[in-house]
Subunit: 351 residues, 2 copies
Amino acid sequence: MPNGGQPTIVSIARRAGVSIASVSRVLNGQGARRDTTERVRRAAAELGYVPNAVARSLKGGRTRQLTFAMPDIGNPVYVAMVRAIQSVAKAAGYRLLLHSTDAVAEDELAVLRSLGDRTSDGLILCPIRITPEHIEALGAAAGPVVVIGSLPPGVPVDSVRADSVAGAAMAVRHLYATGRRRIAFINGPSDTVPGSSRDAGYRKALAHCGLPQEPGLVVHTDFGIESGAAAAERLLAGPAEPPDAFFCANDQLALGAAHAVLARGLRIPEDLAVAGMDDSALARAGWPPLTSVDLGSSERGRRAAELLLDRLRRPGDGGAVVSPATTTVPPRLVVRGSTAPATDQKTARYA
Amino acid sequence: MPNGGQPTIVSIARRAGVSIASVSRVLNGQGARRDTTERVRRAAAELGYVPNAVARSLKGGRTRQLTFAMPDIGNPVYVAMVRAIQSVAKAAGYRLLLHSTDAVAEDELAVLRSLGDRTSDGLILCPIRITPEHIEALGAAAGPVVVIGSLPPGVPVDSVRADSVAGAAMAVRHLYATGRRRIAFINGPSDTVPGSSRDAGYRKALAHCGLPQEPGLVVHTDFGIESGAAAAERLLAGPAEPPDAFFCANDQLALGAAHAVLARGLRIPEDLAVAGMDDSALARAGWPPLTSVDLGSSERGRRAAELLLDRLRRPGDGGAVVSPATTTVPPRLVVRGSTAPATDQKTARYA
DNA sequence: CCAGCTGCTGGAAACGTTTACAAGACACGG
DNA sequence: CCGTGTCTTGTAAACGTTTCCAGCAGCTGG
């Protein structure tokens, strides 16, 4: 027994007194005589047979596995994606392989290359930055890939993007509409895709509202609760006239900022409004609950998974490759207590 | 080309003018003559060869994949476990297969049975309830399994447990120590393992502190922010003398309860203290930051993964099976602003 | 009674590796 | 010059499936 004593199709064939071909056919629901079918079924049940998925994959050329690679499973945004992807994959009979890249580009490239080892049938990649190496590796990928994020035009790969420029602008205009005029911006690193596009949205909305661009109101830091708190403290302690609103590039920053505000004895939203982005679980967890821009993490995960499964259903497609699809998930502003108009104090309720 | 045009060991052999055996040996770093080695290496590089992991698994009987099955990837506790497991697995050269069971026992059993399909080398299972069927399936598992959770004694399976009885007791004694005397308990479903053990810890600590058991101070609901808020409102609106502390079975409940308290215009911790369990990201996200009992989710994930890898390193072990290990991760109380002593009002800072 | 069809079955090849085994090349000491 | 040893190489079998193909039995219609 070189195997672990595990029954195989051969053991069943012997026990049922038929050939392995017949066993395979019966087990896959193809035609067979009544008593053959029965004998095979019984033998399989008695031995507790479970088909070996590896052998099946080798023969069939498909593993029924999908890979999802993202920077950090600790971030609620990616958790939402994992959840959506897992659910779509499961419904379609695929297993989900998780790969945490720790936002290391080298690691992302390795994942891309490892598609060639046939461990999974397709890949959903969520890179934090897109380098020329990424583009090249994407072109040379050994299997279907869907990217969650913004790809430069011309890269022949399916992708699903969030419109964070529009999202950021929505938030800023909302703050303006509730009477705020000195809207500070706490952003993540400016050299990442999310960082730069949020910046663009912020500026655009300021211009749209006729507000001046004050460099002193913008802080770049990295994503994280503590960073948000530190940035907010700096803005509040600054020499200039203090801001009356914090727009933050994600919920973690917003939460940190809110804590700093409250710790100073200021009230939210009466003295200062706070808004975040991503609408993760943290937004609802804050006090007061945080207004946030839902960038559709779940939705993006869902669509990416569906795009990938589509691709897998019609492979190659007779020479003419199906042209790559790019879909954009629209942002959605979720208003909660942290940005109620400065005059209306009762709105800061649990929502 | 029945394959996707992907180069195989055969293409390399042809191109290098050697046998497939030589290719395999060279690529696995076994002895070969200098020029053979070189030719094979070059051919492999030129063709962009990547070994097929499926074929390798079939031959070797190992997939280098681990499966982690948990109720819900949306819960921060499981996210912490995933993260820890992923990190250990990655370091050991294993991939991680994720399986969300949605807390459905049937699904958990299916995962257990599917170990027989040889898709992964081992399983880490985190069940929410343990039924007799679970015990049976665990005994019949076709590969190594580690359970995260409390198994009845005598089940021959490795397990890693949290001591939530002690953890709950710690929290309650801490509330007592900070001057609270009417400590309400917002618990999850009592028929789950976590639910019942937290209940035990709560009662034990009350007894230890010499406080009476008041049935009116205990609420069972399900885990979730909204449920926590609803339960807290019920307790605050009750006819009896209101509680001066909420001990909650997890952070989500605690957060909901805190929101309800604040929405009523009461102050935390001055009027009422709130403590949760799990010490997830939510605890630090709350305002004031929530005191919570860290049940070591990361640590449990890490140990489970290591236990599993250990098992994989020495399989069978010459007839005498290695006896199953059960380790318990001790709880740790993390004190934050939400339970500062009623007299000291300055402690409710960002922590 | 035979040709032709249908329905079922078994043998064998294939998927891409790893590895046991045997055989060849070569050097060396006797 | 031959036996013996070492080093390198190739052939072939295996891992557990699926599936192509051919064969065989049993009918039906002529």
